[in-house]
Amino acid sequence: MLELEVGLRRGGFALDVTASLEGPATALFGPSGAGKSTLLGVVAGLVRPGRGRVVLDGEVLDDAERGVHVPTHRRRVGVVFQDGRLFPHLSAGENLRFPERFVPPARRRFRAEEVVRWLALEPLLKRSVRSLSGGEAQRVALGRALLASPRLLLMDEPLSALDKGLRGQILPLLHGALQASGLPVVYVSHDLAEALQISREMLLLKGGKRVGQGPFLGLLELPEALDLFRGQGLLNVVAARVAGHRAEDAVTLIEPVSGGSGRAAFKAALSPEFAAGREIRVALRPEDVALALAPVAGTSIQNQVPGTIRRVLQGERRTLVVIDAGLTLLADVTRQSEHELGLREGRPVWCLFKAQALRILDAAAPRPSAGTHS
């Protein structure tokens, strides 16, 4: 658990954040200049807070009033920087193994071979850092951070230097590696869809201040938070299991983990690379979800899921509808639809989405038996 109560001033900028982060992953989200990177710098010990405390798992890392400041190299807080920061005088493999000498064998959490496997680094090891693409460099950077055996991993917009397509390819790999490592992560992003793929637990920051904290869907109900999310691509991310494939219809059946039993499986475009029984996550954009008051016959839309409207959030240009369908789904509709259908809390609706709108993000990587080895 990470407890923060920090304040600092830098020119015209003031950071003032009190928060307590628990759980495997927290997405730190906010616009540019919100103080996200500065806050990470404080946790890593690279920036000394003017006042307040940083406490990690009960250990005081900073206490400005009492003059406590544990130096960065003794914090065991790993950082993956936006710009990778691989050492140019070492090869990719040497970068990867750089931190190993600083970690006593008894305290090592991962073996290099494991990390190489999670991040598919094998073909990169002999390469010079300069010859790596942005995505490859970030994979090496994450592997290197893991091999320092940290207690907490901070990721500071690790994919922001990559183009969007590449980001989509690498995110599942990163997510899988993070899952496999079992390390708690604070993931900074100013891209909501990206943040949501790492965690739905969020800490929202704006202008150096905390706007809100908690599960994403809960945050949607905060007016200030909704304001932050404006213009961002929202995303439903659903934990699910592959139920089977129907090759003749070219569909893959997917059962949401929290959907309750007896519910019809979702149909997605045939993806035989994901074996039946595998745990996966699927993404569904709220703008791909249509609402109807009754099931619709004679349509090509393969998924029709009944639910109840829990919240209707009116934005400037769009209306977000939060639907309890066993699992929580977000639908993005126009104000006109809202009025015509009379969408309001408590109303039963059907959520409609095409098989093609469901995107399988990844297979959740299997967790190592204990997350450590000795």
Binding site: R76, G78, P88, A148
Partner: protein
């Protein structure tokens, strides 16, 4: 080809040059790092003291060394009384004089190289568990290697040309402090010394060019290892 005295001067010059570089290198690395990376009280004063031999007449530097390290000097007196150690007017004095004169050049070259290194790489190393001295050894030093090498060569070259401070602090003793420049000067004082002096002059030129060529080759090798191009 060379007379015994000429050989002695040549070998002494090379030996004094190498020893002075070895002697001052650790200090120069430390001071360069302090000046490049740390803020502390008296930093300007340290910077000034380090640069002093560059601006003072070498004879003055030699004289100051004599005051400090001579048999009746502040430090030299202590060394002589307690350990029977005498530095002035020996080859050790020649090494010290060379080291003092080359020090600012070495510090400047290394400091410049360290300042060019992206500090964020050092931060990254810290987050990976490297203590400050490990960051220095594993990141700063390798990345600054071309500059460090330049500093060594500059200091060595300065030592080959050292005259004033050496003569003042170490004297003109064959096999002890009669390095190439001092030997050339000595030969020029003799009625029949012109030919010997000329030979030594040619030798000096060859030696200096050799040092330059060697450093250039080394620097290229290091740059190749760092992956060519700049150090971004």
């Amino acid at each position: 080809m060379l007379s015994h005295a000429e050989w002695t001067a040549l070998l002494l010059s090379v030996r004094v040059g190498l020893l002075s570089v070895v002697l001052e290198a650790p200090f120069a690395l430390g001071v360069a790092w302090l000046l490049a990376r740390r803020r502390f009280l008296g930093k300007t004063a340290l910077d000034a003291v380090v640069h002093l031999p560059l601006v003072l007449p070498p004879v003055v530097t030699g004289y100051l060394l004599l005051i400090l390290l001579g048999r009746r000097g502040l430090i030299g007196g202590f060394l002589y009384h307690h350990f029977g150690l005498s530095v002035a007017f020996t080859w050790k004095a020649a090494v010290l004089a060379s080291a003092a004169m080359g020090f600012p050049l070495m510090v400047r070259a290394i400091r410049l190289a360290i300042e060019l290194i992206d500090r964020r790489l050092e931060e990254a190393a810290q987050t990976l568990g490297a203590a400050p001295w490990q960051v220095f050894a594993r990141v700063v030093l390798p990345l600054a290697a071309p500059g460090v090498l330049t500093g060594f060569v500059l200091a060595f070259a300065r030592s080959l040309g050292e005259f004033g401070a050496t003569l003042t602090f170490a004297g003109n003793i064959e096999g002890q402090s009669r390095t190439l420049p001092v030997a050339i000067y000595t030969f020029l004082q003799l009625p029949s010394g012109d030919t010997a002096a000329e030979r030594l002059v040619i030798l000096s030129v060859v030696l200096s060019l050799g040092a330059l060529a060697a450093s250039e080759m080394l620097a290229r090798a290091v740059k190749r290892r760092l992956g060519g191009g700049g150090r971004a």
